[in-house]
């Protein structure tokens, strides 16, 4: 393997040459061995997110976007390829050092109830990462947890309730508070607002926007909700069946999509205000057996040949 210092930047962006990305994937593949045979969940994905930037990862269920999130977090080892945090290959780090790195990268999951400890109160859930990383004493951790819960809109009166006593939206707020407890640099959000009500979804997005700029967070934002991604991301990568089919600055992707699959996704949106209601139906079938190349069609705008 090549030395860390002279690895080529994986994705061409205007900033890549001058600055090392916070998180980067280089030609990452992931194959799961299941009883039904091999499942090639992620195919040759390269991406990079720079400090303070937000990358939106979109695609339908089964596109490999959640697997990608776990790969970026070092929760799954890639079958081949490399994931780097601040240039450091995650697969070379173990034990205490890895734990220390993990405090810089936190995750908000799709299913808040599944990701919270059911027998811990809301405050204890949020204090848990602080305890694991030996921050402060017990009283300070609780105080900090209550502050964080307040920040995400969970009323002080309810901090000693258990996760199942909260609505889905409130549970997700608790999960976000927990993710922020260690003041991470990188936040990986996997469908963070999908389970929330409309008014709550907007609150959480406004909150995430605010936290992102205040804390200078670098964010990977995974969603199938294109409107949310358009609002939140600086750059968008579209995945289909484990592959990146298009990757572009947000405005370019929404304004001038180049790949038929991206067009198909955009055409499926049901607008609330704008007219006319959309037309169906661009049919495009992915053929993963015939690999084709990502081509740069404009500066920073890449499309897979179809």
């Amino acid at each position: 393997m090549v030395d860390v210092s002279d690895v080529a930047e994986p994705v061409t962006t205007e900033r890549a040459a001058s600055e090392r990305p916070v998180i980067a994937a280089e030609h990452v593949d992931k194959v799961f061995n299941t009883r039904a045979g091999e499942v090639h969940a992620v195919r040759d994905v390269s991406l990079a997110v720079h400090s303070g930037q937000t990358l939106g990862l979109v695609g339908e269920s089964g596109s490999g976007k959640s697997t990608m999130a776990r790969l970026l977090m070092g929760l799954l080892p890639p079958t081949s390829g490399t994931v780097r945090l601040d240039g450091l290959d995650l697969s070379t780090v173990r034990g205490a050092r890895l734990r220390q790195l993990r405090s810089q990268m936190q995750m908000v999951f799709q299913n808040p109830f599944g990701s919270l400890l059911p027998h811990y109160s809301a405050a204890a859930n949020v204090a848990e990462p602080l305890r694991l990383h030996k921050r402060g004493d017990k009283a300070w951790r609780r105080e900090r947890a209550v502050e964080l819960l307040d920040l995400v809109g969970v009323n002080r009166r309810f901090v000693d309730h258990y996760p199942r006593q909260f609505s889905g939206g409130q549970q997700q707020r608790i999960a976000i508070a927990r993710a922020l407890a260690l003041e991470p640099r990188l936040l990986v959000c996997d469908e963070p607002t999908s389970s929330l009500d409309v008014s709550i979804q907007a609150q959480v997005l406004v909150l995430l926007e605010e936290l992102r700029s205040r804390l200078g967070l670098t964010v990977v934002f995974i969603s199938h909700n294109l409107a949310v991604v358009e609002r939140f991301a600086d750059r968008v990568t579209v995945m289909c069946m484990g592959q990146v089919v298009e990757s572009a600055p947000t405005e370019a992707l929404f304004g001038a999509p180049r790949h038929p699959y991206t067009e198909k996704l955009l055409a499926a949106i049901l607008p609330v205000t704008s007219d006319p209601l959309p037309q169906p139906d661009i049919s495009w079938r992915s053929s993963p057996d015939q690999p084709s190349a990502l081509v740069e069609v404009a500066p920073g705008h890449e499309v897979r040949e179809s």
Binding site: E60, S61, G153, S167, G168, G169, Q170, D197, V198, S199, I200, Q201, A202, Q203, L205, V206, H224, N225, L226, A227, V228, E230, R231, F254, K264, L265, L266, A268, I269, L270, P271, V272, T273, S274, L277, P280, D281
Partner: protein, 336 residues
């Protein structure tokens, strides 16, 4: 005057808790005509699902219908003996849920799940039931229905499962379909297919109640909408009117909270706070603690659902016969 397909009047449903009765559906009235779709819009806990479960009388054990009337084709359902109610559910009302994997029985083939109630209710014999099941699977766009009828739910993709569930709801050709967030759990491209499929049943005359929190779905699919908050209807309007000019502050808030593609420049204005705990229902208008327009009258008294009129002429119904525009708010100026 002829009967509507579904006519719900002043429906009230309580949860019986240790701490006492909790009213979760409070005086809901709504009407559905054949071939029309009504959207029930609101957040979780607003009572939209419990309202429709009250109509079908498939409530949790702790819930009771406390009053009001539910008429399907003119027939009162709230007082029907359970035996007959079962017939109504089997023949006249179909229901589609958010999560097909939970609604379908994982241990039975599609054939069993689609035909069982047909023969059980004596709607038709076994051979005819099978023929109908295959036909309905074809109708919902499942390829090779003769083969697929022998599969189990887990062998189908998410979109196909959703279709299979719709087939199960529609196989007895019910006149009313209740769809509870039918597209929330599916991908955007599948969402359109599912809605277009439901639209076909609608075009054939099925009345549809669609419970949703997605205003885009409501606009694409439904004719009329009611907005629910804390167990009550706060606004009723044709969908397009509602989205063009929401009048209740809660409807306005929902609308402003909605994120849509191309709306990046529009400032997000989420409604502050969260829906109330019904056990501690705010006095007066339940929405007043979150409402920027609230005044003392809102904190003390609740406004009824009243027609929006200008000089006695109803307004904002685009002239469609039967269309109604109502809101329950002290601050809506044009109340009668």
């Amino acid at each position: 005057m002829t009967n509507s397909l579904l006519e719900v009047r002043d429906l009230r449903t309580d949860f019986l808790l240790k701490s006492g009765r909790l009213r979760v559906v409070d005086g809901v009235s709504l009407t559905v005509e054949p071939g029309q779709a009504l959207a029930i819009v609101g957040e979780s806990g607003s009572g939209k699902s419990i309202t429709m479960r009250s109509v079908m009388r498939v409530l949790p054990k702790t819930a009771r219908i406390a009053g009001g009337s539910v008429r399907l084709d003119g027939r009162e359902l709230t007082e029907l003996p359970e035996r007959q109610m079962r017939q109504v559910r089997g023949r006249q009302i179909g229901m589609v849920f958010q999560n097909a994997m939970e609604a379908l029985n994982p241990t039975l083939t599609l054939e069993r799940q689609l035909t069982e109630h047909l023969s059980w209710h004596g709607i038709c014999g076994k051979a005819e039931a099978r023929r109908r099941a295959i036909e309905t699977l074809g109708d919902v766009g499942i390829p090779e229905p003769e083969k697929r009828i022998r599969t189990y739910p887990f062998q189908l993709s998410g979109g196909m499962r959703q279709r299979a569930m719709i087939a199960m709801a529609m196989v007895a050709r019910p006149s009313l379909l209740i769809a509870d967030e039918p597209t929330t759990a599916v991908d955007v491209t599948v969402q359109r297919q599912i809605l277009d499929l439901l639209a076909e049943f609608k075009a054939r005359g099925t009345g549809i109640v669609m419970i949703t929190h997605d205003l885009g779905v409501a606009r694409y699919f439904c004719d009329d909408a009611v907005v629910m908050y804390a167990g009550r209807i706060v606004e009723r309007a044709p969908v397009r009117e509602l989205l063009a000019r929401p009048s209740h502050p809660y409807s306005t808030g929902l609308f402003r909270s909605t994120i849509e593609v191309g709306g990046r420049d529009r400032a997000l204005a989420p409604i502050p706070g969260a829906p109330p705990d019904l056990a501690q229902r705010p006095p007066g208008c339940a929405f007043h603690p979150r409402c920027e327009r609230a005044e003392s009258v809102c904190r003390e008294n609740e406004q009824m659902l009243l027609p929006l009129t200008v000089n006695g002429v109803s307004r904002g119904t685009s002239g469609r016969p039967g269309a109604v525009r109502e809101a329950a708010c002290w601050k809506v100026a044009a109340h009668g």
